[in-house]
């Protein structure tokens, strides 16, 4: 019977074209508004590395001064705590717990292209360790990560993004070629294959943000330190430090980001114990004066803690759903009007053997057809809305695009909305007394 009801539903779309168009448009606008904001929320709050997000941990060790510290404050957030000092970074890299560990800092790297007719290119990137690529499942188009030996030795090797490689060398494989970055010659060992995790969870602090541009160049951390490649991003220093690069490395300034990878999520407790022991050892050495709790955040907790999804985005989603509710109320009214003129048909069908349940199914299927039409139009409107939102900024451009789950959600939402709106009118339709309608014909 469903195909029969569906056919009747499609036919009924043509019955009152103006009323139908109004219903479809009302639903479509409500669905488009909701889906647009939900899409942004979905991208913002999506898991950028679902296969291992529960095994990757960002540690927070509070090395701030005692002055101004209030241990009773439960929300003891201090941006200086969310990055790590070079001292802690090196200690954790050398002796840390876990399957893998990596650290990174942002660099601004002017690149001199091999073609002299091209000017110097200002590139953004990171200095990191070899394990970064394996920990974050970074895909390569050409070549691979630098070797462990190169990592330790601080070799002059680099990995480029595919866009940067194409800009510098065209479509050819540039692995083995040399390129001058920040006034040093580097050999290219790998080219990334469009690595754009959203949100960019490994650079939530002090960088271009969760939805900033992709890393165009990557250098070994040891190499960048050796060449004193300047740090590009925020840095927090709680006390005066010695001048110069070595002064920075010896200071308690926090400017690096660190991640652990464990074999399983259940090792979190052991990692926490290890981190606490490390902090205790450092306190014995006269550091970490605050005696603050050492915290670990897995990837999703880290995104939450860093408030990647802002309150304004959540508010926008709630407002959009409120608007959808308003559209639904309007649709209910329109459906009531549409079905009230069908009372005689209900009477006829009941007389010919349709039960109330069958009338209910028929009319609900008809509203679902309206929902499908609303979903189709809503999808078009949502694409338009997202395109307009994407024009607002580069960050919005990253988040304002529809993926397959959101595409499916548009139809589910439209169908659900239509069926929900259709419940009362359909219920009323199936309660019609056939005898009265048949006599009044």
């Amino acid at each position: 019977m469903f195909s029969y009801y569906f056919k009747l539903g499609v036919r009924s779309l043509r019955r009152n074209p103006a009323l139908t168009a109004l219903m479809v448009l009302t639903l479509a606008v409500g669905v488009a508004a909701s889906v647009s904001t939900l899409t942004i929320l979905h991208i913002m709050s999506s898991n950028p590395i679902p296969q291992k997000s529960e095994r990757l941990f960002a540690p927070v060790i509070d090395n701030g001064p005692l002055e101004g510290y209030n241990p009773a404050d439960p929300d003891n957030r201090n941006s200086s705590n969310e990055q790590m000092s070079y001292i802690d970074t090196m200690n954790l890299l050398k002796n840390g717990y876990g399957e893998r560990r990596t650290a990174l800092y942002g660099i601004g790297a002017p690149i001199e292209p091999p073609r002299k007719d091209m000017g110097v290119i200002s590139a953004q990137g990171i200095a990191t360790t070899r394990d970064f690529f394996a920990m974050f499942d970074v895909p390569f188009l050409y070549g691979q990560a630098w070797s462990e030996a190169e990592d330790k030795a601080g070799a002059d090797v680099a990995v480029l993004s595919s866009a940067m490689a194409e800009k510098l060398f065209g479509a050819a494989n540039p692995v083995g070629q040399r390129v001058r970055i920040a006034q040093q010659d580097y050999q290219i060992v790998g080219v990334l294959n469009n690595y754009r995790p959203r949100p960019k969870f490994f650079r939530l602090v002090g960088g271009p943000g969760a939805f900033g541009q992709e890393e165009e160049v990557m250098l070994p951390l040891s190499t960048a330190i050796r060449h004193e490649t300047p740090h590009n991003g925020s840095m927090s220093c709680s006390s005066n430090r010695e001048a110069g690069w070595q002064g920075l490395l010896r200071s308690e300034c926090t400017w690096l980001q660190f991640f652990f990878e464990t074999k399983s999520a259940s090792e979190r407790g052991q990692l926490q114990s290890w981190l606490n022991n490390y902090a205790d050892d450092q306190r014995k050495l006269g550091r970490l004066k605050r005696n603050a709790p050492n915290r670990l955040y897995d990837v999703m907790e880290w995104l939450e803690y860093r408030k990647v999804v802002g309150n304004d985005s959540r508010l926008a989603a709630w407002l959009a759903f409120g608007f959808l509710a308003l559209c639904l109320v309007n649709t209910i009214g329109l459906l009531l009007a549409k079905f009230s003129v069908r009372a005689s048909e209900v009477g006829i069908r009941r007389a010919l053997g349709a039960s109330r349940a069958e009338i209910f199914q028929q009319f609900l299927t008809e509203t679902a057809v309206v929902g499908l039409a609303g979903g189709l139009l809503g999808l078009l409107l949502a694409f338009g809305a997202l395109a307009i939102i994407g024009m607002q900024s580069k960050e919005m451009q990253v988040v304002a695009h529809m993926d397959l789950p959101m595409l499916a959600l548009t139809f589910v939402l439209a169908l659900l909305a239509a069926v929900l709106a259709g419940l009362i009118p359909t219920w009323r339709a199936c309660k019609i007394t056939p005898a009265i309608q048949l006599k009044s014909q």
Binding site: E345, R349, L352, G353, E358, A435, L438, Q441
Partner: protein, 236 residues
């Protein structure tokens, strides 16, 4: 075919109780053509609606083709209505945006016949009423008489045991009315029981039996023709 015993129907509003039928007794045998007459408000329509399972009755018993319908739920009543009854209305009651084919198809869909059987039944029924060539047409393209023929085809397509007709010629001119009446007689002659409400005394005389209803009760039952055997009177 149909037996109602001590049946009553009361419509209640906040202030008023209206007894549409009371102590209503009737039996219609298989193959009969019974007309129902009576003044306006006498209870003819309530009787027909209850007979057609379109309304529930307040008290009494109603046996339809051996099935006691008292206390049946909506699904069972709808199934029974679909399988055993056919309806013909004064206003034809065709669905305007369905073709003749699709109109006749409606009760067959609820019966659950497969596409092949539905097609055969629709074509047979429309052929029987002389409209086989117009099955793709829409009701608005037909005259009143033709529309009523489609309604008859729709009622016949499911091979009902009992055909309920509510003033089937009320909206037709004399010639068309005669044609419809002849068709009903032909259907009755082929074995279908017919119960027809009419205001037309001439049509009432053409049936085998006339039931006259006054104030919600059967006033008299008259069997006519060669099988005239009984005349009963009921006091209020």
């Amino acid at each position: 075919m149909l037996r109602m015993t001590n049946l009553s129907k009361v419509y209640r509003t906040h202030m008023i109780e209206t007894h549409a039928l009371r102590g209503f007794e009737i039996q219609v045998n298989k193959g009969e053509f019974v007309t129902v007459t009576g003044p306006s408000g006498s209870g003819k329509t309530s009787f027909l609606n209850i007979a057609g399972l379109l309304e529930e009755f307040t008290d009494g018993d109603y046996i339809l083709d051996g099935v006691n319908v008292k206390g049946m739920d909506d699904n069972a009543r709808s199934r029974l209505r679909n399988e055993k009854l056919g309806f013909i209305f004064q206003g034809f009651n065709l669905i305007p945006d369905l073709s003749l084919f699709d109109n006749v198809d409606v009760p067959l869909r609820y019966r659950g016949f497969n596409a092949k059987e539905r097609k055969e039944r629709i074509e047979d029924a429309l052929a029987k009423v002389g409209l086989a060539s117009r099955m793709k047409h829409y009701p608005a393209e037909l005259s009143g008489g033709q529309q009523q023929r489609v309604a008859i085809a729709r009622a016949l397509a499911g091979s009902p045991k009992l055909l309920l007709a509510d003033e089937p010629t009320g909206n037709l001119d004399t010639q068309m009315a005669r044609g419809v009446m002849e068709l009903l007689e032909e259907i009755n002659a082929q074995g279908t029981t017919i119960l027809m409400v009419t205001h037309d005394p001439e049509l009432a005389t053409r049936s085998q039996r006339n039931v006259h209803i006054i104030d919600g009760q059967v006033s008299d039952l008259v069997r006519k023709g060669p099988s005239l055997v009984d005349t009963r009177s009921h006091s209020a």
